[in-house]
């Protein structure tokens, strides 16, 4: 009796296992010969060659990342205008909080074939979703639709698809720029001249050591977690982070990276950074707003956070051009807007994505006084609003500096996967604690990152 029961159970297990295998690992084309994208059955028009055609009507979902709280008015206006221009459409707006689980949620949505029709992505998620075939190929489905974007911006939205081909699978949207922000009073207290901020990364680290000498733990130069600086600092210093073919990391081979880790270690050991921030998830914003940091976040948009949370610190905030270092210009990938290849209403989704990213709508948002963002469309950047910025408050200063930088900035930002970034950061943390030499830590970091790179390819 027991044997029969066991046989029955095993049979059920085998059947269920095979079913699981069939469902979990299928990919390519479905049995009926229908079109598939990323393992999901989709409308034939969404994949393959040929321009996407169809009526702009019906209901679509549109997902942004953490924008509803501050910009609800703007987005509701854009949606209302789109629905007015296309009376048979409805756009349902959802806003992801953009926390640490954002990528995981997006992956789960993609696997379940339920990606939002129009979705706001960062460079990492754009790469991953393009590679897995979940995004509409704009070169084939909307040829010529990238002409309104700045050349470097449009170039930045080229990603590798499942077949290894380079395709545009996203429209470049806004970018925030990068600038130095600092507490003028604390800088003076440390004997530094706010009018002459550092122009190189290691120069700023030297200033941080001066701050540590006089601050006596009452305030700090910046936060310790290297996760906020990798790989941006290295790229700015002219370090070759990735090999030309993109198949292996090369950062550990450059003496400049070793010097960078050694300088980070010196700063940490000297007390230029709070010891408890070595692996903390909090960036500089919170401590800066409390008046405990000399250097704030390099994202000018966080100035709004400071203005709202501590107006007295905001008044003391100075803004300067970012340290251009060896690279000579700033880099920064924009945010992207993509259309899901799994959309049941792709013509409407594509139309909305184009409407949202057109010059007029991007400019309208960039003119919001509470934000420092720059549109990806050439026509918007030519607007006098960006050409002659007025005002001397930190926000206006930041807008002025970043607008000037836009003339030379590129979008060639190196994107590390979260796993690669964590693996590299973990090793640098050990070096900063004095548990490893800079060279050993970097060597180990490169080896682990290479392993992950190989695993993901």
């Amino acid at each position: 009796m027991r044997a029969r029961r066991l046989t029955g159970s095993l049979s059920c297990l085998v059947v269920l296992t095979l079913t699981a295998a069939g469902c979990g690992l299928s990919g390519g084309s479905d049995d009926s010969g229908g079109a598939t994208a990323g393992g999901c059955s989709v409308d034939k028009g969404n994949v393959g060659s040929g321009k996407l055609t169809g009526d702009v009507k019906g209901r679509i979902t549109f997902q942004t990342t953490n924008l509803k709280k501050d910009f609800g008015g703007y987005f509701n206006g854009v949606i209302a205008a789109f629905e007015k221009a296309h009376p048979d459409t409805t756009v349902k707006w959802i806003d992801d909080p953009g926390d640490s689980q954002f990528t995981q949620r997006l992956v789960a949505d993609a696997q379940a074939c339920t990606l939002p029709d129009v979705v706001n992505l960062n460079v990492n998620t754009s790469i991953a979703l393009t590679k897995a075939g979940y995004l509409l190929d704009l070169d084939k489905k909307a040829p010529g639709s990238g002409e309104s974007f700045g050349a470097s911006m449009w170039k930045s939205s080229v990603f590798t698809d499942a077949s290894g081909a380079k395709v545009h699978s996203a429209y470049p949207w806004y970018s925030g720029g990068i600038a130095q922000t600092f507490n003028v009073d604390l800088m003076k207290k440390a004997g530094l001249d706010p009018a002459k901020p550092a122009t190189t990364i290691l120069g700023m680290f030297d200033d941080a050591l001066k701050i540590a000498k006089v601050s006596d733990g009452k305030y700090y130069a910046t936060v310790a977690n290297p996760i906020w600086r990798i790989p941006a600092d290295w790229q700015q210093m002219g370090v070759k982070v990735l090999s030309d073919d993109g198949k292996s990391f090369t950062f550990a081979d450059d003496p400049k990276t070793v010097a960078w880790v050694e300088a980070m270690t010196r700063m940490y050991q000297a007390g230029a950074m709070p010891k408890d921030s070595l692996s903390s998830n909090q960036d500089a914003s919170t401590l800066y707003a409390q008046g405990k940091l000399v250097y704030g976040s390099t994202n000018p948009n966080y100035l709004r956070f400071i203005q709202q949370n501590n107006p007295s610190v905001y008044k003391k905030t100075g803004v300067a051009r970012y340290m251009l270092d060896d690279l000579g210009h700033t880099v920064g990938a924009p945010q992207y807007i993509s259309v899901a290849a799994t959309s049941k209403n792709a013509p409407t989704a594509l139309s909305f994505a184009q409407f949202l990213t057109n010059a007029e709508n991007q400019l309208a948002w960039a003119k919001d006084p509470n934000v420092v963002i720059f549109p990806s469309t050439t026509a918007s950047l030519d607007d006098p609003f960006f050409q002659s910025v007025k005002g001397t408050d930190p926000f206006s200063e930041a807008r002025k500096i970043v607008a000037e930088d836009r003339k030379t900035a590129t979008a060639d930002e190196i994107a590390l996967s979260p796993g690669e970034l964590n693996a590299i950061t973990a090793q640098v943390q050990l070096a900063m604690q004095g548990k490893k030499s800079a060279a050993d830590a970097l060597k180990e970091a490169q080896s682990k990152a290479d392993e992950l790179l190989k695993q993901g390819s």
Partner: protein
């Protein structure tokens, strides 16, 4: 002609005391078959409770639960098992069969063993404390004294708070210039700040503290319910015999709630092997400096879920290892329970 009262299929005939000397009553199955030969199916006059006696009815009531368990329990588990023998990517696509490669890699992976050590340590330290401390709390708040409701609610509040909010509060408490260090320095107990958030061991211990603090109220409720079942007479008799409070606790209260203690032990054992948020909140996205505080779920996220560089196959293999560890702990708890009962 005598009218024959027909029975709907599956309905048992009305039972009546058998007359002495009458043939033995037929079994319900035989009776049903006999009746079925006469009547092909239910007749319109069959009704009442009969309709609730169909053989498939219990299955129908259980169907939602069975479907739920199969869809969200059995299927994902089996899928994970299958995935562990492949090199599947988190975003799907073609996956190749790699045999035992993932398991071989796992055995030689020092990061896996570090995560396993942390998870096991978590269980070894947290489970005994989580079994004992809520019992003390429950005994403290058991009696209906004036204002005791406030304390019961206060102890239960951390259970209701979100893990992220609790994690942020603990970050603030344990920071170098946080409440704990400041107080210890002001009272001259320590001279320099204790590195709760930058030392790997202290991060792990702090995370355990957070788990304990958040779980105490929940398991206190378990024990409060169990304490209600301990006969008061035993306490009274022991008091009359001169047993003190401590003696009564160990010899009456603890044996009285032993079954609940085993349940709490099993539940916290499983829970402590699944810890992620506490480590993430106190140790950051690397899982502490150098990733030294990563637990198995943390490691699974790192190796298996990254859409760009993750390997869902390897992540699944580590998940199977976590399952085996959890199963082992549960079986151990069950054996201990049986030994105690015998």
């Amino acid at each position: 002609m005598t009218a024959v009262r027909t029975m709907p299929d599956g309905e048992a005939p009305p039972t009546a005391p058998a007359a002495p000397g009458a043939p033995a009553p037929q079994s319900p199955g035989r009776m049903r078959r006999a009746l079925k030969a006469v009547t092909p199916g239910p007749t319109p006059d069959a009704g009442g409770a009969a309709i609730y006696r169909r053989w498939w009815l219990p299955w129908l009531w259980m169907l939602p639960a069975i479907v739920g368990a199969a869809a969200f329990g059995v299927f994902p588990f089996l899928n994970t098992l299958v995935l562990s023998f492949t090199d599947a990517k988190p975003l799907g696509g073609a996956a190749g069969f790699v045999g035992l490669d993932n398991y071989t890699r796992m055995l030689g992976d020092s990061d896996f063993w570090l995560a396993t050590r942390n998870s096991v340590l978590y269980a070894v330290i947290v489970v005994p404390l989580m079994v004992i401390l809520p019992l003390f709390l429950a005994v403290l708040v058991e009696k209906n004294l004036p204002g005791i409701g406030f304390f019961r609610s206060a102890f239960y509040t951390p259970v209701l708070a979100s893990s992220v909010v609790v994690g942020l509060s603990w970050q603030w408490l344990l920071a170098d210039q946080g409440l704990v260090n400041t107080w210890l320095e002001k009272t001259h107990i320590i001279k320099g700040a204790i590195p709760f958030l930058s030392d790997s061991w202290l991060i792990l211990l702090s995370a355990m503290g957070l788990t304990l603090w958040k779980g105490l109220g929940w398991y206190m409720i378990f024990y409060l319910a169990a304490l209600g079942n301990v006969p008061k007479e035993l306490h009274e008799a022991a008091s009359v015999d001169g047993a003190g409070a401590v003696r009564r606790f160990w010899h009456i209260t603890v044996p009285g709630v032993r079954t609940s203690m085993m349940l709490v032990g099993t539940l916290t054992g499983i829970g402590s092997l699944r810890v992620f948020t506490e480590i993430y909140m106190l140790g950051g996205s690397t899982g502490g400096p150098g990733g030294a505080d990563r637990t198995l779920p943390f490691y699974i996220r790192d190796v298996g879920l990254d859409p760009l560089s993750g390997n869902a196959g390897y992540g699944a293999a580590v998940s199977v290892a976590l399952f085996v560890l959890t199963l082992g702990l549960t079986l151990l708890a069950q054996r201990l329970t049986k030994e105690n009962e015998s």
